[in-house]
Amino acid sequence: MIARAFIGLSFALAVWLGSAGRALATDDYTLPFYDPSISLSYGVDRDPRSCYQRDWANALWADCNPHYGRVYDGHTGMDYPMPLLSPIASARHGTVIDLFEGFGTQQFGINGNYVLVSHADGRRTLYYHLAQNGARVAVGQTVSAGQWIADSGCSGQCYGAHLHFEMRAVVSGRWTSADPIFEQRFTTNPGRVPFLASYLRESNSGTEVIKRYTTVTHWVEFVNAGGRTWRNSINVGRVLLGTWNPPTRDSAFGASDWPSSWVATNVDQASVPPGSVGRFTFGLHAESPPGAYDESFNVLSNSLRWFDWSRLGSFHVPITVITNTRFDDP
C-alpha cells in the first residue's frame, strides 16, 4: 500500500515536473554530438510504473516492449546510436565533476565508462558507455557547450554502440532523471543535429571584383537546417562565419568590420530559429596584388564546432583584384 502510494506520488511528481519543464522551456542545452546522421533510438520513460511507458510527446504504452525511436520501459536517458569513438560534446557550459574510463571500449557488463558534468542551473549531464580512456577532460575542468569531452564506446550494458545521454536534476533532495526533449531544453526535434545549414543565396554569386585597397560588402544567406536557434550573442547558440581550408586561417581579405583575422562576422540577426534564413554580412578588403583568388568560408557554432562544409554548400567567394590606378602603377 505504501509502495503504491509512493509510485503514485512519484508519477504525479513526474507529470508535475514535466509540466513545469514545459513552462520553463529555455533552449539552454545542445545535443551531445556533432554528426548530422545521428538520431535518437530511445528516449526517457517519463512513467515510473513498471511496464508503462510515456515518451517526450506524451504518447503512452501500457506494455513492457521497447518502442524504437521513442522509449523503452524504465529508461532514464536518451540513447543515440553512433559508431565507436565518435566525438561526444558537452551539452552545456559546466564543470566536470566525475569520470571513469577503466572499462574496455566494448566491455559488456553492468558497469561502464562515463563523464559527469555539473551545470550552473544545478543540473548534471551524464555521458555513458564511453570508450576506454575515452575522456578528453579531467575532473575539475571547465567545459563549454559543444566542447569535445569524450569518445563514445559500448562499455557497460550495451547491445550496440551508442551514447546514453542523461540529464539529472535534484527533486525532493534526490537526483532524478529529467527529459530535456519534453522540457524543451533543446530546440531540436529528437535526434536532429543541432547545428546544420544549407546555402540559399548570396549578394554576388559570381566573382567579386575588388579594386585594390578598397572594400566591398558581401552577404550570404543560409537556411538554418539544424535543430537549434542561431544567435549572435556570446551565449549558447552563437553562430559565426570563419575562414576555411584550412580553418581559422588569417584571411588576406579581412576588412575592418571583421571581429578577428579569421572571423568574418557573426550571424546578422539576433535570433534565427530552425527553418529560418540567417544572413551573414561582411566586408572583403583587397590588399593583395591584382589577380584571381578564392576565399573559402564555413559556419561554426560557439567558436568551437564547424558545420559540415559540404552540406553548407561548400561556400567560397571567387575574387578578382584589379589594379587601383589611384595608388598602383597602371
Binding site: 509502495a3 511496464c51 553492468i110 558497469n111 550494458q157
Partner: protein
Amino acid sequence: MSVRHRTAHGGRTRLRAAVPVLIVVSLASLSGAQIAHADPPPPAQTMTAAQARGSGSAVNVINHSEQGGRVLELQLPYPRISAVGLPAGEQGRRAAARYLDDASNGAVAIADGIGDPHAGLLVTFPDGSQAHTALAGVAGAAFAADGSWLAAVDGSGRLWRIEATTGAASQLASGPYTGSISFTRAGELLLVEASSIEAPFPSVVVRFNPRSRRSVLVDHEEGFVFSAAELTDASVAVTAHVFGGGVEVRRVTDNSSERLASLDPRAIDASLSDDGSRIAYSAAGSVFLHDVASGSTKRLGPGEMPRVAHDGGSLLVLRNGQTALLAADGRELDQFATATVGWASCEGRCQP
C-alpha cells in the same frame, strides 16, 4: 526496516550526504519488494543427463586441485554468442558462458550467454542433469547455503529466487541491482542497489533478507559501487569508484567504514581474498595484486578478470580467452584452455 549511520573513511561524519541516500534506499527497497508480482516469472525446463547429452547442452565440469584451492573448469558445448567482430579481449568475456557459483552438493550455476538477452541461467548437477531458466541477461547468481535455491539478478536488475532442481523462478524484488550478489553467513544477500540499470550509479550496498524481502543499508557512501563481498570477520568489503576520484576498497562494519586500499583510478574487476588482505584487479590490460598490510602493489603481467584464491596466495587470470593460474609473485602455475574457470566457492563445505 532499519538503517544505520556510519562514519565515512577518514573519520569524517557525512550525515548530510547520508540522509537522502538512506531515504532513497529505504523507499526503493520497499517498493521493489512490494511490486515484485508485476513481472511474470521466466519459463524453466529440466533435462536428464541423457537429454542434456542428446540435445548437445551437456556441460563437463572438471575438478582441479591447485595451489590455493579447488578449481572448477567448465567445458561447454558451444558458445552462445558469435565472437565475430568483438575485440580479442572481449571474446573471452562474452563468447563463452560464465561460471557463477557452485553449491555444496556439487551443482554449478552458469550464465549461458553474457550479453545475450535470450540466454539464461543454467544449473548443472554432478549426475549431468540440468535445470534451465530463461532469465534474460543474467548478471549474477549465488547459491543459498543448502544448495536448494539460488538468488539471481537478471539483465533488468531484478532479483529472483530460482529453485535449483526445477529452475522455477519467483521474483524477490525489482531492484534494480547490479550483478554483484553473494550470500552472507547469516543467510542474507549482499547486493548492490543502483539508481538505474543502464547507468548504475549512484549505487549503494544493501543486505537483503530473502524471507522478509526487506533491505538494510550497509554503507551510506554515495558512489559507483562495483562490488561487495563479506570477509571472514563478517565485515563487508566494498569496491567503489569514489566520486570525483579513484577506486577504493573499504571495509565496512556495524560501526565503522575504513579504507583498505586505494587502487589505480582505472581499476576494474577487483577480487579479494577471504580475509581482505590481498586485492587483485585489472587496469589497462594488466593484472595487479595489492597487499593491504604492506600497501605494495605488484604488476603480474597482462590479463584481466583476476579471481583471487580464498587464501590470497594465487589467482586465476583471463588471458587471450584462456585462463592462467598465477602465484602471488606472477609465476604461471597452470593453464586452462577455456575462459570458464573459477574457484569453487563452496570451499571447505563442498561434497567430495
